[in-house]
């Protein structure tokens, strides 16, 4: 593991660092900014973002997307996936990328269905 193998550019080469340590601090600053945005949005909850988009609040979509962005930088720069071979990269990421959205899709649709049954069906929870 020679340190020369580190890829030092993030944001698709927009930002290049001189050393691996500088890149670590850079990524920390980026993650802190994203977390701060999340926390501020979570406390303020701006009214325009409460509109529904694809059956979920716009604000919640923003939170989920920012979370995935954070996860990407933790995995790519802290866990050094960026420096791994393409085959190892895919071996780690692809199973998760295929299985998790599938599970999410199937269980959330099912949960939504059960909600509809409890609301419109003959059983009501009013006791």
């Amino acid at each position: 593991m020679a340190q020369e193998t580190h890829k030092l550019a993030i944001f698709r080469g927009l930002l290049k660092f001189k050393s691996n340590q500088q890149k670590i601090w850079g990524v920390l600053i980026f993650l802190s900014i994203v977390t701060t945005i999340e926390v501020v949005l979570g406390i303020v909850k701006p009214a325009p973002l409460n509109t529904m988009f694809l059956r979920m609040k716009l604000l919640n979509w923003i939170f989920i997307i920012l979370t995935i962005v954070k996860a990407y930088y933790i995995a790519w720069d802290f866990m050094h996936i960026r420096d791994e071979k393409g085959s190892l990269k895919s071996a780690i990421v692809l199973p998760l990328l295929i299985l998790i959205p599938y599970l999410v899709f199937i269980l959330l649709v099912e949960g939504n269905y059960i909600f509809d049954v409890m609301r419109d069906g003959f059983v009501s929870w009013n006791f």
Binding site: M1, A2, Q3, N20, Q21, I24, W25, L28, L31, S32, T35, E38, V39, G42, I43, N50, N60, F63, I64, L66, T67, K70, A71, I74, A75, D77, F78, M79, E84, K85, S87, L88, A91, I92, P95, L96, L99, I100, L103, V104, L107, L108, E110, G111, N112, I114, F115, M118, R119, W125, N126, F127
Partner: protein, 322 residues
Amino acid sequence: MDVAATETNVWGGGQKPLNASYGKLMMWFFIVSDALTFSGFLVAYGFSRFKNIDSWPIADEVFTHFPFLHGVDAPMYYVALMTFILIFSSVTMVLAVDAGHHMQKGKVVLYMFLTIIGGAVFVGSQAWEWKNFIKGEYGALETKGGQILQFVNADTGKRVALEAFATNIDTPRATHQNSNGIWFVGETSLPTFSVAEVTRGFEANENLRIRIQKLNAEGHKTVLTREASLNKIGQAVAVVEGANLIHNEYGNRLFADFFFFITGFHGFHVFSGVIINIIIFLNVMMGTYEKRGHYEMVEKVGLYWHFVDLVWVFVFTFFYLV
């Protein structure tokens, strides 16, 4: 097999086709399977939430404490702080890995030490969060169907604690202990008030209203009228103070179950991560890796530690933000 064949055949053995050592690959496999376990838990949480989408507890009303700020409504700030602590300890870990690549033992020791401190602070914070959640704040009534009835002041719109209005009724009912009674029947401590005491106090205070779990169009909990409240309180069968796996004063009991289960499982990961970090830290101090010629063990525990941080990012989003 002759040498030439081995060299041309990447997967024939004796090579590192993925350019990573055996130990590192195994750590990655473990992380992938653990990631699937955590996604199973989080998706199960999502399932239960979608099932009760119109009555799920609002996280901002549940987690409102901050150390040394008693009675101040401070949602989010404490978990935000915990998130920063964990991200920072992730950074010190990756700096330790980097120092290991340069064979700088002193720096590895320093950064590993900071990582361990960060992890320990995080576990402690989580314990404090659990303590507040278990202890509860206002108390509530529970109906036969497991619905939670909370109390608000109609004038201020603020929540009211049971002890603020429940009237004392003298009763001989005391906690049954198996030392003075049937030995095989025992019970955990009784709530501070009985349903009758809360009901009488509620009837005496005209400005109290009951708040049910159902969310209204604006996403707030529905507050009943005085008449509907008086009608509803008749259905109460138990007083709930705080939260455990069976009762939950904040709302749906599944919320408490998933909270304990998911943050508990994550907290256990952090705890074991701290233990493993300590072991590696001691090895670094004794010069084990200096003698071995490389610090790959630091890199492997680093992978685990970052994974724990990664999971927290998701737990933070789905429990506190969304």
